[in-house]
């Protein structure tokens, strides 16, 4: 049945590599080409979604309050920041409670989305070696799936955020629709970043210990609980370009855009018009770049 003996006199002794080539065998565990990889990944989309939902369900299944913790955890975080930055340290920069509390809660929820994706991304390969070593699937499924889990977690938080924002007198308007594309872009950015982190974390497990410190620094540098410009220019008396640079960082960009969409007040007017372009740029550069960077090492995940 095999069409291998049609050349006149086949050599009796064949090197293994030639035998493989002759019968059309392919190298096992070789990295697929980029289009192939994208196709494989698309083929696994149901697994990616199911895995993220399963992780989400399993996360709090042992707690008595169950899934309610999805909402309580970020809220309690916001409460702590309110007491420290809003009340004790006076970091609100002239905002009254009706603007500051939605400002803070939005910041905490949106930043948590990126933060949790990065933390999960670092461990997405190194923490699932059993899965990587047992089953065949495009490895990018894992960091993407973990980012998707965080997106679903964020949607729970957004429901609470809407209640908070409305109860402080910010009524729904057409501007609210802006939240959807902004969070979509942030998700692309997060997934890209998670893939970069997954590759680093798979070769350097120590990164998982270091990440919480880096992320906390990033949080303070992005103005989660205080308006950046007020803190940098008025309180610290630094030149205004420092504030420009800090507010162009992706975490600040996505937070400010969600705030822009949901909260009316003086803060809205301080957000520069270019922020939307930054949001798009960060998503494209980090999303695509992270994917390519992750794919480049596809065949090496799972060693050691």
């Amino acid at each position: 049945m095999s069409e291998t003996t049609h050349d006149s006199a086949p050599p009796r002794d064949v090197p293994l590599a030639e035998l493989a080539a002759r019968h059309g065998l392919s190298v096992s565990g070789a990295r697929p080409s980029l289009p192939q990889y994208v196709r494989q990944l698309w083929g696994r989309r149901h697994f990616i979604v199911a895995f993220s939902q399963a992780k989400l369900t399993a996360q709090y299944s042992q707690a008595k309050l169950g899934q309610l913790w999805q909402v309580f955890t970020p809220l309690l975080n916001a409460l702590v920041y309110f007491l420290i930055f809003g009340v004790l340290l006076g970091g609100r920069g002239g905002m009254d409670n009706s603007e500051y509390i939605p400002f803070l809660v939005t910041g905490v929820f949106v930043f948590t989305f990126t933060q949790a994706s990065v933390l999960a991304g670092v461990k997405s390969i190194s923490g699932n070696l059993g899965l990587v070593r047992a089953l065949h699937f495009p490895r990018a499924s894992l960091p993407i799936s973990f980012s998707l889990q965080q997106l679903q977690q964020l949607l729970f938080s957004m429901a609470i955020l809407v209640v908070i924002v409305v109860s402080f007198g910010h009524m729904p308007s057409f501007a609210w629709l802006l939240v959807v594309p902004v969070l979509a872009l942030q998700f692309v950015f997060n997934a890209g970043l998670a893939m970069v982190m997954a590759r680093w974390g798979s070769s350097t497990p120590d990164l998982a210990q270091l990440m919480p410190f880096i992320l906390r620094t990033w949080m303070y540098a992005s103005g989660v609980m205080f308006p950046l410009r007020h803190m940098v220019e008025t309180r610290a008396n630094w030149p205004s370009w420092v504030a420009d640079v800090l507010s162009a960082n992706p975490a600040a960009v996505y937070m400010d855009l969600v705030r822009y969409a949901l909260i009316d007040g003086d803060y809205r007017d301080t957000i520069p018009a270019a922020t939307g372009l930054y949001a798009l740029g960060w998503a494209l550069v980090v999303g695509i770049g992270g994917f390519l960077y992750f794919w480049k090492a596809e065949e090496r995940y799972g060693r050691g």
Partner: protein, 264 residues
Amino acid sequence: MAEPNTPAVVVDDGRTPTVIADDLHIVYRVHGGGGRGTATAALRRMIRRQPSGRVREVHAVRGVSFVAYHGEAIGLIGTNGSGKSTLLRAIAGLLPAERGRVYTDGQPSLLGVNAALMNDLTGERNVILGGLAMGMTREQIKQRYQSIVDFSGINEKGDFISLPMRTYSSGMGARLRFSIAVAKDHDVLMIDEALATGDKKFQKRSEARIRELRSEAGTVFLVSHNNKSIRDTCDRVLWLEKGELIMDGPTEQVLKAYEEETGK
């Protein structure tokens, strides 16, 4: 193609090869394995600039070459830690080769989904998750769902499939995992000691299913310490020891030599 020291050649007799291992080497790198674990020891290594002191290399498979053909059932034997499971993973393309190559026809798959399942989820959701993880479509899973549950026998003693898997007894969990794993058809199938799960009744059923899978799959690899199940299922055996291929031949011949060596 230029292999200076070991020109691995084979006679092309017209049979269809499905898996070719060509001078395959697999090396594990283990972090934190070497040296003393105290802080002073770690500091001393840093001062003496021995960054690799904590990374140990384990050469698990050393230069294995063989050709597997369509329709063969091949047993892998060897003492614990001889590299059998590692070799299977390398064939499946799950472990990168240090040197050498594995060529395969289609995608070989390892029988096992344990790592994809989550104890906090219900059996029902685990069936779906496991199926998706193995690359089945939602349609295929829907079609086979009932037969997976029936095969596992989980629901024989009440509606257990809707309970979280952590509430299962170890035997029930093993049965469900096995049932999910054998639900898919494979080109090249690799089974790692999977036969020994569950009670007598379930073992009978699983052996029958393995034979069925064998007839559907092109080639089957079986790792087992149970020489009887190797005799029952395999017609060729590879004997590995310390990562090297000691013997490759018909089942009886290799098993006899192996039993003499291990003194059974």
